[in-house]
Symmetry: C2
Subunit: 361 residues, 2 copies
């Protein structure tokens, strides 16, 4: 974000139909060297996040993904290989594939294994930014699975007791099939607030609540402009979860991220992530129709609880995102001027036609 853009009167953004944005993103990634199928997968994962209001994991990532391709951290033509395979599991060498390509393949493998033997595990070695994990767990939930996805990434969150980044804001997503009220999908960072939210707060300025972040020197701050290092949710709980996720993903696939980065090795400076996808076939353990009914019943029961205040609503994991999805599927995805500018520059550089920013009626 340039200072000038922030300081000046912000020009209005645009509203874009999801199909238009998806086609544009796919064209960009294809031009950057990906196969049509891989380009479409990455485009779909990013636009999915925009549709659900998780804009930090949407098309705003396109310039960064291209930069990763330029420097060789993301291989647009990866040789994805299954290194280990058992009746219940796979270990996938992702060869620096785009995260959505590797994680989609992984969750698909986990679901296939789960359909065969009840539970399926896929470990992913050496992928890149895994995007919004809910994309994969929700897909599995639509396929009748309870699903879990985890990702290990670079140190950017304070480890409890330290005044420096020691662990990642490692996300956790869990989804289960639902009934009339739809599936439940939790998708959370292990930090109190996500890095994306912190960066936005930093751009806007003002005060942030105590306990959100440290500044560059590792001191607690409530000044958004100086917020640099997010703090873990629940202190040792959040940083403990994140540490265990590094063990379950990165160490399990012999591709450590945290220790390499913190030791300042050459390998530690390269962008990479590792992932885990787990699927459990609901139909193997109970009647799936009853399960869906019980999810509905549980939702109804929780929503009927007395509310903390008159102006709060009791929301289920993924509920707000689904509302945004419905609204944006109808009315289009709003993109700030700054994102439009960045995508325009990408289009010009790669010779891809820039999309027109007109929303559906």
């Amino acid at each position: 974000m340039s200072e000038a853009r922030e300081a000046g009167a912000a020009p209005a953004g645009a509203v874009v139909v999801d199909d238009t944005l998806r086609r544009f993103a796919a064209a960009v990634f294809a031009r950057a060297g990906m196969s049509a199928a891989h380009a479409e997968t990455v485009a779909d994962a990013l636009v999915w996040a925009n549709l659900r209001g998780i804009d930090s994991h949407g098309v705003t990532r396109i310039p960064r993904y291209l930069e990763m391709i330029d420097v060789g951290d993301l291989d647009p033509r990866p040789a994805l290989v299954v290194r280990v395979e058992t009746p219940a599991s796979v270990l996938i060498e992702a060869d620096r594939a785009a995260g959505p390509v590797a994680m989609t393949f992984a969750m698909g493998s986990a679901v296939r294994k789960a359909k065969a033997v009840g539970v399926g595990l896929a470990l992913v070695r050496a992928t890149t930014h895994t995007a919004a994990l809910g994309y994969y767990t929700l897909t599995a939930a639509h396929d009748g699975m309870a699903a879990i996805a985890l990702a290990g990434s670079v140190p950017m969150m304070a480890y409890h007791g330290a005044r420096a980044a020691g662990v990642s804001t490692s996300p956790i997503s869990i989804a289960v099939p639902g009934g009339a009220r739809g599936p439940l999908v939790l998708d959370m960072a292990t930090s109190i607030v996500s890095m994306g939210k912190l960066i936005r707060a930093r751009q806007i300025g003002g005060a942030i609540p105590e306990g959100w972040a440290l500044d560059d020197h590792g001191h607690p701050t409530t000044d958004a402009r100086t917020a640099a290092i997010p703090l873990p949710v629940g202190g040792p709980k959040g940083s403990g979860l994140s540490l265990m996720i590094e063990c379950l993903t990165s160490l399990m696939v012999a591709n450590p991220i945290l220790a390499e980065a913190l030791s300042g090795t050459a390998e530690g400076h390269r962008h990479k992530q590792n992932g885990l996808a787990l699927a459990i076939d609901v139909a193997r353990f109970c009647d799936p129709a009853s399960f869906r009914d019980q999810v509905d019943r549980l939702i109804a029961t929780l929503k009927a609880l007395p509310r903390a205040h008159d102006d709060v609503e009791i929301l289920m994991p993924g509920e707000r995102a689904r509302r945004t999805l419905e609204q944006r599927s109808r009315n289009g995805i709003p993109l700030p001027r700054s994102v439009m500018d960045e995508l325009g520059a990408v289009a010009a550089r790669l010779g891809v036609a820039m999309f027109s920013a007109s929303a559906r009626a």
Copy 2:
């Protein structure tokens, strides 16, 4: 806790050798109807918690476990049956077995499956209080596994946005094998503070931090005496995790707890828990010696981070508990007078010899 006991000058407690306490607890459970093997398993799980300083999950639970037997909520002679079995999974009908009996069987099954096919899942239907989940994950870690354990229980924690208990403080435990520095074992409630800690604070009185709890009317309180309902860690994150745990455990085994309890059904008033144990065989996916070295390296790297203050220590999940274990294995387990009294009453009622409270030298 009687008022008199709190108000009077607290008599000194006792210090007990772990073996003595284990034998006593096993004798009590055997007298209450359990097989010798089951009684020893339950005794071992409780004393394990005491040894590690998790006293809320230690022998202080004995009177409550006996009460559950008396009212028929805990069956001391359960017919544990494997209802579903695949090459990678089992569903165990626990038939109201003591939690440690069911969960030990479950994690053992998960480990056996993982050794065969890389990953093993055990779902547990209708057990009772699952005790400290770290007991099961750590056992699996000592067997070369990365392990996860979850438990679904009665509503006692506020669901985010509600001013009433809607979900459990459902625990999550994750453990991995370690090297010279030992395994990592995370064992956390999804509340900011555990119910046990809240109950202790309530007994002592004074102020508690904002955000810990609601009072009986569902209003936020900082007065420990009125603290009744723990709040979820990270608001929607903690209550979302807990909700998903109910789905992964209770709904998966067709034994809903939350909706039954919140609807006030007869079944909803009975004590019960459901559980999940997952094991991943490290050796199947990477060199286990390298994995252990990398865990050590990661610990060393995190401990070398600059500390938040001079007087804090950067601790790993389970590290404080292991220190307590070493200390209490040597010097004995301290038991407050109130617990000694309760155990004395149990001993007298069941005709079991009360242990002598002399510590090792």
